[in-house]
């Protein structure tokens, strides 16, 4: 099947129900999108599909045919994504970093839909798990982005 990922076209030979995550990681060799739980619980595998954040570990690859997938590898090609990354660095958000690809994707999706989210809207959108406990830094970074201070 034909996939559009990061504005490139790929031919992929995979079963229709293969999770998008494993096609991205193993077939296409892009490892920035992480496996954490495989059950859409943690959000480490978050990618954008047509601009919406989805959990690629439970998204059958057939479901994204004809859609535009964005992974962390291309996030800086997006104007909002680039701001998110630089704010993440400015706030020194990452600790182990394993969940942060997903966090950056979730923040980018939020801000693309709603450039000025309230704190409540940030809390409602930023629900990915982080075992290092970077939640306050994540919130502060998105808060700054929402206020246009980043």
């Amino acid at each position: 099947m034909e996939l559009r990922i990061n504005q490139k076209t790929y031919q992929v030979d995979a079963d229709a129900d293969t999770p998008l995550l494993w096609v991205i990681r193993d077939d296409l060799g892009m490892t920035g999108t992480k496996y954490g739980c495989g059950l859409a619980q943690c959000g480490a595998c978050s990618v954008l599909v047509d601009g919406n954040v989805v959990r690629s570990c439970v998204t059958p690859v057939a479901g994204v045919v004809g859609r535009e997938v964005t992974t962390i590898e291309a996030i800086e090609h997006d104007e909002v994504g680039k701001r998110v990354v630089s704010t993440w660095v400015e706030h020194q958000v990452a600790q182990c970093g394993y969940c942060q690809s997903g966090q950056v994707m979730a923040a980018t999706a939020l801000l693309k839909h709603n450039p000025k989210p309230s704190d409540e809207q940030i809390e409602a959108a930023m629900i990915n798990l982080c075992r290092c406990g970077t939640y306050n830094a994540i919130h502060a970074a998105v808060h700054d982005l929402a206020k246009g201070e980043a």
Binding site: D15, D26, Y35, C42, V89, Q92, Q95, C99, L129, G133
Partner: protein
């Protein structure tokens, strides 16, 4: 579209220019395989190593070329003795070495060093990443390493410029000859410098701390950008040419063995399957893609066999229940072995007018680091072996692999990629790591194999945070002040659990946090009843303190309440001869806007209260105040104020981040987290049934770092233990309900 990352250069996006110093080239021609450059042994014939050795034993952390390469572009490549798993040690080491070498830490590229004597830099003669020891145990040695390298740069500069060393100085990244106004960049001197003998370690002078540019400053993490863009590579991300993927299905209970596979032929015929394998306590599928391997291995119908008497692992009984086990621990009678005693507890208890008793317990926990364990194993043409795996102790892992494979350690190249969280997960726990399986599979299929444990297979084999039931007795004097405290813990500590038996001395990791308290209570007794349990146990961030401070500091509040004392005032009184802890406690009070216990009504109309607790883990002192309310019958933690005194620190921004992280994990175990076992199996094998703290349950965190100048303590773990008791004490103040077990989600509140 494969992206082979068969070299560490690719992995870490290092500049492509060849490093210029000779030692590096010697390493490359030594034992390195293919494009891999890690895992070399130091070339013993090297003049510089001999010089450093002075003909005898090499002094710790002096083999400069083993640690440092300075490249033509003036970047500095540091092989770090410690693993980076989020705690910021790569950045801290760049600050420490850079300060003395006179290079901006931002110019450093840091990777984990391979196993080997050269990297055993800790004061205690070890090389592990744990116990919050990396910085505090290597600080003077790593500073001296930087100073030795600087001295070599100066020497090389003197040769290059044809002037005496005494006329030279350095500025960041260069040697300066002030008299002639000339300077030479380190990158230009590196080749010459690294071929010089390492100077006598006693000959170098360290920088006056008042002149520090980077130590003590909030230097930016070196890995922040790569970790915000998906570029950082973890074990799970690695790939080598010709690699196959593997997944396993573990026996439902440890110790069970593989019987017949009822549908082996069907599974072999599944898409992408290369082969099906029987392993000790597991079946495996090797496939072209991990998803194929996983789907196939989960389809295998295995007739698991009960453990035999000669089982090499700790067999999990079919009737094990964690709840029943905790009840049993609470009634264990002995034998009792004393750890810490002072005065005469029995007499004080007998003669006191007011006595109280209480029994506490905690829960098992998973590490639940976000990166599931994996291992990549490759046998090379010459029979040598490369293994990439998450680990906190490379020498121990290499020794274990040598034992398992019969290979000489020199034939094993161990790679230690970034850790996607660890919290104690990646020490050497028998049966809890995928690398023995990966090695066996790679050998069987004759190709490199990367094995990833699914989250479910991880949760069933993780080494758990231990449990204890502690029986407390306390006595008050006629004025209501504590005069005696006794804590008898029925438990198995992680260290004795790994050893499989109790040692001659008590396991300090079983009792830390009950023992080692500084309160002036004249009669005390801290003791253990050793109970060997069926669960595999491991170290979990802050280890024994993670449970024991919850017990002790909660019971201390019970004593305060019984005597009609305010818990903050009681602690101040019991610490009145201890200036460091008095200062610390007052600092956290101040940070919170002045101690107030409540209950009080907050601005939003909610009824709230505060609790206080202290801990002394890993050479550091901490004090925490928590503010809570009750929402829908559950505890909401609004704010955590924490004062932390690690003596002195290297990076205040990283310390603050570590406090945040430790508070999150502390809240997680306090509020929601527990590994419950029923019928010998974990009830939860993923985050759906094993909740870890979600963002919505995080508290605001306020940090004050106090540098008392006392001996340097740890940072990664110490901010955790006082969180749970501060919250429990706040809950008691608010609701009148004293909670004597974690997590609080087991209780309901009004």
């Amino acid at each position: 579209m494969n992206m082979p990352v068969d070299s560490m250069e690719d992995l870490f996006k290092r500049p492509l220019a060849d490093p210029i110093n000779l030692s590096r080239r010697r390493f490359l021609t030594g034992t390195a395989i293919g494009a891999l450059v890690l895992g070399f042994g130091l070339p013993l014939g090297s003049t510089r190593v001999q010089a450093a050795a002075g003909g005898g034993a090499v002094e710790r952390g002096t083999q400069v070329p083993a640690f440092l390469e300075i490249r033509p572009d003036n970047t500095v490549y540091l092989r770090c003795p410690f693993m980076e798993g989020g705690q910021g040690t790569f950045t801290a080491m760049a600050q420490i070495v850079g300060e003395e070498l006179d290079v901006d830490p931002a110019s450093f590229v840091v990777e984990a060093a391979p196993p080997g004597e050269a990297y055993v830099v800790m004061d205690n003669g070890m090389r592990i990443t744990g116990g919050s020891m990396s910085v505090r145990m290597s600080y003077p040695t790593m500073r001296r390493l930087g100073a030795l390298a600087r001295a070599m740069m100066l020497q090389a500069g003197a040769q290059r410029l044809g002037v005496p060393v005494s006329e030279l100085s350095t500025e960041p990244g260069k040697v300066i000859h002030a008299k002639s106004g000339r300077s030479v960049a380190y990158g230009e001197l590196a080749e010459r410098a690294m071929d010089l003998p390492v100077p006598d370690p006693a000959s170098v002078q360290l920088r006056d701390p008042s002149q520090f540019r980077w130590i003590g400053k909030p230097v930016k993490r070196l890995d922040a950008y790569d970790k915000s863009t998906g570029k950082a590579m973890y074990s799970i991300d690695l790939k080598v040419d010709g690699m196959l993927h593997a997944a396993v299905q573990h026996a439902p209970r440890l110790g069970m063995t593989v019987g017949s596979l009822r549908n082996e032929e069907q599974v072999k015929a599944m898409r992408g399957v290369h082969s099906v394998h029987r392993l000790p306590g597991a079946v495996a599928v090797v496939a072209e893609r991990w998803w194929h391997a996983r789907r196939a291995v989960e389809a295998i119908q295995v007739d698991w066999q009960e453990p035999t008497a000669d089982s090499k692992v700790r067999p999990m009984p079919a009737d094990f229940s964690s709840d029943a086990y905790l009840k049993r621990l609470a009634t264990e009678k002995g034998p009792v072995r004393d750890d810490e005693t002072e005065g005469d507890v029995a007499k004080a208890l007998a003669s006191a007018k007011t006595r109280i008793e209480a029994t506490y317990n905690n829960q098992y926990l998973n590490h639940a680091q976000l990166e599931p364990p994996s291992a990549l194993a490759r046998f090379n043409g010459d029979g040598s072996l490369d293994v990439w795996l998450p680990n906190q102790a490379p020498d121990m892992f290499r020794a274990d692999i040598a034992k398992r494979t019969g290979l000489d350690p020199s034939r094993i190249t161990l790679h230690s990629p970034l850790l996607g969280g660890f919290f104690g997960r990646h020490f050497l726990y028998d049966s809890a790591s995928p690398y023995p399986q990966a090695i066996e599979l790679a050998k069987a299929v004759g190709r490199p194999v990367k094995l990833i444990w699914s989250r479910e297979e991880e949760f069933v084999r993780d080494a758990l945070r231990p449990v204890a039931a502690v029986n407390f007795r306390g006595a008050l004097d006629n004025d209501g002040w504590p005069v005696a405290i006794e804590a008898i813990s029925a438990t198995e500590g992680p260290t004795e659990a790994i050893a499989g038996k109790q040692g001659e001395k008590l396991d300090p990791t079983a009792l830390e946090g009950l023992s080692g308290k500084s309160y002036a209570i004249p009669n005390k007794r801290i003791a253990q009843i050793y109970v060997k349990g069926p669960a595999m146990l491991g170290y979990w961030r802050s280890v024994g303190n993670s449970l024991n401070d919850f017990f002790y500091e909660s019971f201390l509040d019970e004593l305060a309440d019984k005597g009609g004392k305010d818990p903050f005032e009681l602690r101040l009184r019991l610490l009145r001869d201890n200036k460091r802890l008095t200062t610390l406690l007052q600092a956290v009070g101040e940070l919170s806007g002045g101690w107030k216990r409540g209950p009080f009504t907050a601005e939003d109309g909610s009824k709230r209260a505060r609790g206080v607790a202290m801990a002394s883990p890993f050479g550091t002192q901490t004090a925490v105040i928590a503010e809570v309310s009750i929402e829908n019958g559950q505890v909401k933690v609004h704010d955590i104020w924490q004062a932390i005194d690690p003596g002195s620190i290297v990076n205040p921004a990283i310390v603050e981040a570590q406090v945040n992280g430790a508070v999150a994990l502390g809240l997680s175990q306090t509020l929601v987290e527990e590994a419950v076992w029923v019928d010998g199996k974990p009830r939860a094998r993923n985050y759906d049934l094993y909740p870890i703290l979600p963002p919505a349950r995080m508290a605001r965190v306020h940090v004050r770092v106090i540098e008392s100048g006392e001996k340097m303590g740890g940072v990664g773990e110490p901010p955790l233990p006082a969180v749970a008791p501060a919250v429990a004490n706040a809950v008691a103040a608010l609701t009148g309900q004293r909670v004597r077990s974690m997590p609080l989600s087991r209780h309901s509140f009004t």
